[in-house]
Every structure is written in C-alpha cells, then in structure tokens.
Amino acid sequence: MSARLARHGRLIDRRKPLQFTFNGRHLHGYQGDTLASALLANGQTLVGRSFKYHRPRGIVAAGPEEPNALVGLGKGAGFEPNQRATTTELFDGLIAESQNHWPSLEFDLGAVNKAMARFFPAGFYYKTFMFPRAAWEHLFEPIVRGAAGLGRVPQEKDKDTYEYFYHTTDILIVGGGIAGLQAAEIAGKSGLRVLLIEQTPDWGGRAMVDGVQINGIGAADWVEKALARLRAMPNVILRSRMMGAGVYDHGYALGYERLSDHDPKIPGPRHRLWRIRARRIITATGAIERPLSFAGNDIPGVMLAGAVRDYLENYGVSPGELTLVVTNNDNAYLSAIALHEAGLTVPAIIDARPEATGALPQKARALGLRVETGCAIGTVHGGKRVTSVTLCNQAGSGAILDEIPCDAVAMSGGWSPVVHLWSHCGGKLRWDADQAMFRPDPARPPRGANGAGFVIAAGTANGHLAAEAVMEDAAEAAAAAVRALGAKADPAKRATARSMPEMPILPVWSMPANAGPKLRMKTWLDFQNDVKVSDVRLAAQEGYESVEHTKRYTTLGMASDQGKLSNINGLAVLADSLSRDIPQVGTTTFRPPYHPISFGAIAGEARGPLFKPLRKSPIHDWLDANGAHWEPVADWRRPYCLRRSGETVKEAVTREILNTRQNVGLLDASTLGKIIVKGPDAGRFLDMLYTNMMSSLKVGRCRYGLMCNENGFLIDDGVVVRLSDDTFLCHTTSGGSDRIHAWMEEWLQTEWWDWQVYTANVTEQFAQIGIVGPKARSVLEALGGMDVSREALPFMAFQEGQIAGIRARVYRISFSGELSYEIAVPAALGQAFWNKALAAGGDFGMQPYGTEALHVMRAEKGFIMIGDETDGTVIPQDLNLGWAISRKKDDFLGKRAQQRPHMVDPNRKQLVGLLTEDPQVVLPDAAHAVEGPKRANGMENIIGHVTSSYYSPTLGHSIAMALIKGGSRRMGETLRFPVADGVVIRAQVVDPVFLDKEGERQNV
C-alpha cells in the first residue's frame, strides 16, 4: 500500500496539516502536497475508472501527463469536473470526488463492460453504425450512453471570475526547470525583456529529484540563487503556476495563470489568460516518461518510474512497500536506488536490455538489488491493486521464469521531449533513433512574420537528457534568441552541471518482444480511453495505415490527456504492425492547449452583460419602464410590444395595430441606420450602390432604395434623403448600419478611391420617432411649429425646422401604409420629444407600439423585410421590386449578376401573398409548399416556403407571404403546406398587398 514516509518530501511542510475529503472520506495531507500525493499518502491507490471498460485506475504520473486521476473538484457553483489530481495543489477544505463510476468507485457495475471487451474492439462506434437502426437505438446506444462520459456537468453558474492580460515581450521562456532558468539568465543579461513561466508552483523541474549538481552545489541551492539573480533583473518577469498553453502565428502565445486554485480564499480572478506577443519563444518544457507495454500495465500500482521518484523525494510518499522496477534504460535505476535508500524494498529491477553495465546499474547491484537483464514482465497480477508480476525473457513470448510478489511497479520506457509548443505553429520533428525519441528539428522551426524561426527548443525539450548538455543547450538557445533580436549574449557565462552518466536506451515497444494476442489484449496504450496494443494492431490489419486515421478509429490519444503517454508507444505499435519505421509513420498533430484550460479563462470578462455590449436607443429607459416586451434586433433591444397591466403579448400587439390604424401610434425608430454620404461624387456613388437612380433625387425629397451585392442579391433597403446638392442621408435597416457603412467604405477605398465622397455613420446621433395613423397630422399640428399640410409636406418629402420647440427633420414616409411622419431630433432631445408627442397625442388616442405591430402592418401592405423575404439568394426582381431597378443606369452593384441566366429564369421563386382556406389558421413561418407526387427518395417536392405569416387584426384573417417557384404565374392556385403531425394547410396564392392596394390611406 502507498503511504507517507517519516522522512523525505522537499515540497511539503509537515508543520501545516490540511484536511480534505475524497468521495466523502475525511483525509489529511500537508501544505505543498498535490491532491495526488495526498491521496497516495492516505493509501488511496484506486482513483477512478476508465472510459470504456470502467477498469480500476490508479495514479500513473506526477504531472500534467496523468491519464487516470481525474476528479470532480468543489461543489455547487464552484464545482469543476475532470481536474487532474496531479496538477491540483492541496488546500484546507478541498472536496474531491472520483468520476466515471456507478454506483461507487469500489464497486462498479459498468465494469461488466470488461467482460464485453470482445465486443468493444477498435472502431466499435463506426462498426455499430452499420447495424440496423433499431439495434443502435435499443441496444447499443443505451449501453454506451450509460457507460460513457467523464465527469458530470456543473449544474450552477460558475461563481468565479476570470480575466485576460495582454503582454508583449522580447523573449518568452516556457518552463522553469534548470534549462529555463539558465536561458533566462543569459537572456536577461542582454537587457531584453524576458518573461519566464513555469506551470507548477515550484522552480527547478526534475533536477532536484534526480540529484543533479550545478556549479558544484546541489540543484536546489543553485535554483534559489538563480531565482534571486533573476528577480534582481528589472527586465525579467517570473511567473509560476502559469502554463504555456499554446503557440500561434507570428510569436503569439497563450499563458494560463492559475491565481487561486491552490487557495480559493485569495480574492480576485481565479484564472488569468495571458495573451502574449513574443519576438522569440524558448521552449524549455522538459520531457515526459513513457510507459512500457506489458500485460496488466493498467492495474493500479503500476506507475512511471520518474513519478515514483517524484512522490518519494518531493512529497515523502512511497507508492508501495514492494516496488518492482521495470525499464529499458539506466534512468529508472535512480528510482530503484532512491526507494532502497529510503528504506523501502525493491524486489527486482527488470531490465529489457541484454546487459546493464552503466554506473547506475552498477550502483544498484552494489546496494544488493536484484537486477534481471534481458528480461521483461510477462503479466501483472492483481485487480484493484498489483499483487505480483511474472518474469519472462524479453526476447521470448512470455514463458514464465519466476513470479515476484510486489504491490507497486515502477516502469520506464524512456523519455519523450515535450515538443508540443514547438509543434503547435508548424515546427517539425526528427526521429532520433539512438535515444528513441522525436525531437525538434532546428532546421524546420515555426516561422514568424519576417521569415525567421521564432521558437527555439532548449534543454531536455530539445532532446538533451544529461544535465550538462541541458545547460549548454539552454545557454546556446538563449544566446541565439538574443542575437536574433540584435542584442549581445555570452553563452559561455553559464553554469556547469553534473548528473550520473547513463548508457544507451534499448527501444522496447512490446514486452515481451513476441507477446501473443492474449497478452496484447491486456496491454494498455491509452489508459484513459482504454486503447490496447491489440486495438492498434487491429486497426492496422483493417487498413488504417495513416496515424491520424488510426487515432480516430481507435480513439488512441483522444482522451483529455491528448495522448501525452500513449502517442509514441501507439505509433510504434502501428509502425511495427505495418512493418515500417517509426519516422515513416510520423506523429499525430499537436494542438493547443498543451493541457486543458478552463472555459472561464477563455471567456475572461466576456460574460453576462459584458458578453456583448447592448446598444440602447434614447427612448430605451422609457420603453423599459412602460411595459416593453424586449426582442433582440442586431445589437439593439427593441420592444416587441408595450404591454399594459393584465394584457398578454398577443392582446397588446392587436391593440397596438388597431389603434394605429384607427387613431395614431408612436414608434421608436431610432435604431434605423443613418449614414451621411457627402461630396461632389456622392450622387454618382449612390447610383452605383443602389439599384435605383439616386443622383436624380431632388433636394428635399425621399426615395426608397435597394442595395444588392455583386451577386445581384438584395442586401439592404431603406429611404434615401437628399439633404442638399452634395449631401445624402441613407437610411439602412436596424441591423445593417455598421455593415452597410463598411460596405460603402470598402467600395470607396478599394475600387473608386479617386471619387470625392465622404461617409459618416450618424445612426446614434439622432432619435427617430414615427407618428403613424389617420390622426398623425393632427398630433403634429398640436405639437406646432411646422406646416405639415398635404401641400407643404407631401408624401416622400421632408422639412427641416422646429417641432414643439425642438430642432427636427420631419420625413413623410410610411412603412405601414398610413399617413406617417418620422421625426429625427438630436439624440439628446429624443426623450424630450417623445414626452411632448405623448402629451400632444393623448387627445387623439395615441399609443406607442412595438416591432410586432410594425411587422404585421408592413405585411398587410405587402412590404418586404430584409431577412424575412430575403435570405441572401433573393434578387429584387423576385420580390416584385423591378420598379425600383433603374433601366437608365449603365451599371450598379449587382446589375451584371442579375443578367445571368438563372437570375432571369421565369421559374425562380417569386413573392406572392397567401390566404389560408380557413382564415383563422396562421401558417407557420418557413412552412414548405409542396406540389405533385413525392420524389423518388420519398421526400415531398418542395416549390417554396413561407417568408412572413401573421394574423391581421385589421382584416380579421390570417395573411402570409411566400417565395414560390414561378409564383407570379400561379395567382389563384391553391397550394399545400404540410406541417407537423400529418396536418396539411391549404392556401390560395394572391397578390401580396392585402390592404389598401391603391395607397389611399397614406395619400391624404
């Protein structure tokens, strides 16, 4: 059983005990523990269940590469699933729960999946999709759904806050081990700005655990001194608990800083996402140890040899009482020696190499440890805990030589440099056969804006495993970065380091070498996703030759650890199965983030009301206080209707429509886009932008205009006003003001840059208020100050002057078919004018109305709405708007496209009106019209769809508009609209103008 030792533990403070719970059990640890070390200290080896077979899973690693020890942390609004115990610092009161088990961790019903392993081979999901639908629905999906999934989704809104931080630096160094510290010192001395980040709370990396000597003193002492020197440099910033999450184009990098995960009592944001632009990035990210592939390597108690050493030296925790070591290299002997020197028993060191003659094996033998060379583990015995291993020859197929009792296994398959950040932005790798590792190829780095490589790998991350080589490489990397930026550096002024010499590794991808199918079925590659050697071999056998395909077929490396442990072993098995070399098979793509980061950090402050700023009209607050039922319109909120107390939304809309048609309504139209277009060439420019002729518009007059893109499709509409000879005011849709302004600027800047035109988006400078209805003129007369008679202000004209003492521009335009005025006043006076209008309108029964009444009234008149009648594939001709397309102009945007054969096809969908057979039935929006027999595939033959559909209180029946193939030739036809549950609605094709076809109501 794992346990806390009386001695050791350089990172823990035994004077500061901490309480925490795991699955409700009260446990204790020390300040400085990780959750993983504290769990092991409490003998909690079993920490989770695997994804597919729900196999018992124990802690394997001591860092972010951990595949198994995923827990749910916290509770309620602070709950977070899938947190790694190995990267979670212990604090007093921490609450953790294991996940992916039912009903309990110790007794898991899902583990029967294990018995079904035969039925869950590689490509299981793909293969079962081939079964009949019923089998999938009733058999597979319920089983898979019940078993699958890691963690549970938080049920409450996250209580914590997060922030972004923008940072620019000359050199970013990722990794605070001895390589990162050395690089920072060399770079720091150049005077350039340096940011050095370390993902853990502690500096120095593995050097202390591995007994490295630097400049003649212990690594820990050197690290302290180096930190002191770096802290004295004003141009160097040090940040621990900050991970280099990703490297992107042109030296962009993301840093993920965890500010209070280790102590939730710290106020302020929990995580900070650093958005860094660096001129050079040095990756000193170290290496990750590889597991060995032997049967039963997933049983709790089997750990990485380096992790065993970490737990022992850093936290004073032993993985077991009898820890067997299995290796293909010298490095793992460090673990055996450390365990032995801590007074623990190492029953054997199993070394796959034919002989082990290096200094470390010699030392182990001298200490009396049993070393078995040329040997392998045949199989590990145990259920929720290792009980013994069988010894066999590495060269054979598993014939048992001996059975060795043990309760832990420390394995080492060699080390893989952490090349993720090097690779994120395109850095290439090369295979180093001698060290059996992929390492950065310095000839093919990711390149920056000036074409030079901007990432430099350093130390172990660059493939150097011995401490002295690490220091030399780190100093050279820093000097190269400094010199590339035009400053001076002296790499000779570096520290020298000494570590135990190591003899070459023997690549071992299968243990024993000729393991048969029975062993391969029990040999795990990906512990979290339950991918075994047999799965990868099956994938290869079934024709999956590409490593990217094999990854997806088997799910190898697709778990939340992204295959940090499994990738190299997996592709080695694939290479072997395909009889290829490892570099021929290559690696899968490394994608950011290096290690999962919180959604909160990605969102930063952009949540709640700050997610997207709201645009408010000058009347917004009044509307809000007077029953506004809000709806989003682009970035604005507009009132759908204004409810009176006791009224439903539908009742309010009906009342607003009838009152506007009978008396007079008041509309806040301030959100309409307003763009000033000014200059000697303004008319010429608008002639190109609009389908109509705008240059001929007389000063003082208004004209409804259409805008198309170069495909000929309608993109916006609105009323254009000629304010003076060289000045136009273009109204756009509420959602279109920014887009259309940008559209104008694009053409002016990139195509007609010699035309003399300025534009200004003045949308928010004006409040615009509609006074609409038969009594509208009476209200304006009551407000006083301007002659608004039929003669003085005819339809489609405007006047400037004073209304009720407020400077105003009054347009006589109508979107309802009623007598209608829109009054633009300075935004700051919008509310004042609104109040005066309300007061003056009282005698005439005036009531404010919202967007739904506006929509219904425009539909009653057959007026189109951009986004309802248009969908990006509709030309004005489809909407019977041919009258608004000038035939006199040589050119306008969209003209050429509207001459293409498909655009002049008489069978295009065209706008029609619809009257349902039952006048009280309202067609659903977007209902499809169908015609004739069904098609060969059993689908209906669709000839069009409803674009707008309402109940018209004015007319007392439903109305709709639709785009129907050849619609203008179908007047009087009855069309079928199948809707839900087998119901078919029938409707007659009619003219889309339902009310006042002659326009008499507005022409008064």
Partner: protein
Amino acid sequence: MLSLHCPYCGVDVDETDLTPGGEAHLVRSGSGSDDADFEAYLFMRKNPRGVHFERWRHSFGCGKWFHAARATDTLEVFGTYSAQTKEPPQDVQERIRARRPDWKGFGKGDRI
C-alpha cells in the same frame, strides 16, 4: 493570430483587430462584361501555397483597407501597402523576389 503592419496607423495590429477581405488586386467586371470575365471576377480566387496578396481592413482601428503580401505556407509577410493601387509596390515585389527566387512575378503564372 497574425500580426500585420497597418500602413495608415504605423502599428503592428493583431489579427483580431482586422477583417480579412480575400484576394487583392481583383479587377472588377461590371455591366457589359462577358461571362468568362464575370465568372472569374465573381468566383475564381487563387489559393496558392506560397506568395499571396490579400485585402485586410483595420476595422477596430483606423477603418482603412490595406493590402498584405504574404506567404501562405510559412506565414512570412513581405509587406503591407495601400489598397489604392493596381499592383504591389516595387519594393514589396523586390522583397518577395529576394525571399522567394522561384516566384514568377505579380500576375504571372498564377492566373487560373
């Protein structure tokens, strides 16, 4: 997250402050153009692995459109320049030639 130099503001701008505008130096085919020219103008876009000329707008800055000469394979930027020109400036073309000796030249060998 590309970084491009806005020739109007004189600053290096993060990609998130920019709006991409696709291929630069298109020649507009308007009313009266033949089908082939119009099709090329409307739909045919280069997608080279290598030297490319692009339109960008400094939307969250000065609002100006500018052009960038860029390598799509290595993300190297050869230069940014005014959008109000029919071809890349000579100094940009020379820089491309120096960095990419195999480049065939602006408008040469890269039409579809």
